[in-house]
Subunit: 241 residues, 4 copies
DNA sequence: GATGAATGAGCATTCATTCAT
DNA sequence: AATGAATGAATGCTCATTCAT
């Protein structure tokens, strides 16, 4: 869960700042600057100046600028995974847990819109090793959500003619892309937008009944849940998260 | 519609390549390199080397590296807008036009996945002027799609408790984000994924009947279409497209 | 022969320095600084300051600091190879050409002691590609000298119980290492030292007669010239020149 | 002779590794890393990681990174000097002791090729004080060898027209440079190469008889041994060893 | 004896852009 | 219409060494 944190031993030196405080200053400054100016537009110099530490200190804690970005994102992801796990493991009917999960994604996205935007824009700059590390964790999160969808399919509340993987990606993508169009000054609050997305998503999950929107002959027929997309993630060689 | 193209008329130089050919070489090389290595990782030097022209020539045709990126995207966008316009203006019931439009987006996204990925990743690097220019065109495209959704709402085939704007963004986002997770070696082809997304989307549009997924009390109630999000784009100061 | 030189078109601009002059300034400054302070202790900043050009100009002409070092050495090597080739191809008995060649190495070493010292100390820092390039040229030089030794062996003036390759390396090494011990303020001039080395070397080449220094039983016996060390150079993977 | 070693006496810590073991780990790790990657390419961090000690421990035992290098070399040199002294002081005719000494250098060079290569490449990076310290010891070694040559000259088995100093440097240089060209996969073993070098060297020492290689008029005439190069080392200001 | 976080000056290198020709 | 040498400010990063604990 923790991502290379350092425990500050409470006691501060005389002239020195307390132990581990440098790391926290760096993360705080970087988070703020990345969100405000973007990852590429923020130089390491900017970060250390804002954090009031030296470059050496930054490179003592982080191997590179991109590791810093990765570190911030992984902490976010760990938190979000934890929340989702609690919801998924909770009691109650699957449709309620599904709705709760969707609403939780909305809430988390709203809370950390800035950091998530930075990640979406700059994750492709990471080297293979870092990309792989986050991909694995992201995958775990995705699987958690997908399993909930599958549970819904198994209990008949979610249509089974669509891949649970595709459903999951679609919802998370729609949510994760709001930064490209949502604006706080618009007529809807983020919470409202989120609820609408949830409604749209849950509506799309209902097993198709007598359809108001005419079916298309080219529509691929039902697929048993077993034929689900197991490998719909990027290949290991890919840099996509 | 045309984006600063130069028509190479019959008149060719004697030993030189035909007029305007330099521009085309540059665009071709840049498109290929941006797609393969990313915008930031492609230097102007790389482009001119691949296009077999000099730096001077590139700066003769394009004011900057970013103008080149913008130029490529605008051409794509113009083509897609044209296609959507023809579908939207076509005959037939609205639900069929809506379906056709959705399928067309899938097809276009598949065809130009590389360029669209580059754009998604690097659009935020552009300066305000260029961002504004593409934003206007992108807005026009978005409105075209949204109007189709509204038409559906007006004729009763699309639920009216959701903002047409949100619906439109959700679908285009889900499609536009496939590059972050779709992999050709997976069990589904891109066309299949596209069809599933369309089905999910169209399913979500059906007016809510007796719901398999329980409604949530916090769900915002019906909103008349007239209260739609007019300013759901980013603020002018933002660099978001 | 030429190593990426640029022809200066004689004509100078008004405010600009003449074309290609930047490259020459850089080489001159680098040669001087490398010799005086060593390669590692000379920063690129030092070089451009001394050459009165910008860093950009340096990197326009040279891909890296090490390419600059390589470039200087290759020019030296090309010149020396040319001189040796003329001597080797000259008329006269082989023993005289051998002596002339040895003396020429002494002379060239004396002339370019500083540059050669820099090279000897820093060649191992080069990357594989550059090391390989110079190794090939160095090898050509070595072979030229060795062939002269072999010619001497064939005509009976040089002992054949020693590998021509080992003989060549031994002489060139003794010469090339003078920088570690020779000091101009010593009792011998460099020319005198050189002559003594030549005498020692040529003396060692005489076919062994009745020996003043007792032979050792472990001494490996005669080896036909044909068994000569064909692969006594470093492996391709090695960074040794 | 001893170079700041610490004897680990019986008294070991309870849970800790025995006293002084840190020092030995450091020397072992540094020797291995310097040989494999070179002195400059090995960071202090690399050394402490390999030795499984902390930076503080390293700086407790060694004043600096270069002191570590010096330390390794001095130990080598002390051992070699000791061996040479025993040979030189041994019984038997001078020509046999000379031959034995030469063979011993070959053997020692072969045994410690890696460390000697590191030293040859990086000695010039040391500061004056350290350079001076090793120079003095190296000088003692050199003098020991040279005195053997002089003894040979005095007893008539070594030619007297060459400086004993030059002779000594030439032989040690040829040997000490083998790392730049010898490759174990070549047709000769290192021992064979060494024997050939000894043969070449001893051959060159024979008083010139009727010469197969014609003498050159420019050859400097005989020099009495008394005029020998006393100050053939580099000047005090120089960083050369 | 040993720790390890912090230092800080210095490094080689990049690259979109300009402009005299 | 095109050249290409030159710009110059900025970039991410290194690393031997120190010192409060």
């Amino acid at each position: 869960m923790t991502v290379a944190t350092t425990e500050p031993p409470a006691a501060a030196g005389r002239r020195r700042a307390p132990r581990g405080s440098a790391r926290r200053s760096i993360v705080a400054a970087a988070t703020e600057l990345f969100a405000r100016r973007g990852y590429e537009a923020t130089s390491v110099q900017d970060i250390v100046a804002a954090a009031e530490v030296t470059k050496g200190a930054l490179y003592h804690w982080f191997g590179s600028k991109s590791e810093l970005l990765t570190s911030i994102y992984r902490e976010l992801l760990a938190e979000q995974t934890q929340r989702l796990r609690e919801i998924a493991d909770g009691a109650g009917p699957v449709e309620e847990r599904l709705r709760a999960a969707a609403l939780d994604v909305v809430e988390h996205t709203a809370e950390h819109a800035d950091e998530l935007t930075v990640w979406a824009r700059s994750a492709h700059l990471l080297d293979d090793e870092q990309a792989e590390a986050t991909r694995r964790e992201r995958r775990r999160y995705h699987d958690l959500f997908r399993d909930l969808v599958r549970e819904g399919q198994a209990s008949g509340v979610v249509r089974t003619d669509l891949s649970a993987t595709v459903i999951t990606h679609a919802f998370l993508s729609a949510l994760g892309n709001t930064h490209t169009w949502f604006h706080p000054d618009g007529p809807l609050t983020f919470a409202e937008v989120g609820h609408q997305l949830v409604a749209l998503f849950l509506g799309g999950l209902r097993p198709p009944g007598p359809e108001p929107v005419a079916p298309h002959p080219a529509e691929p027929g039902r697929r048993p849940a077993g034929s689900d997309a197991q490998r719909c993630g990027p290949s290991p060689a890919s840099k996509n998260p």
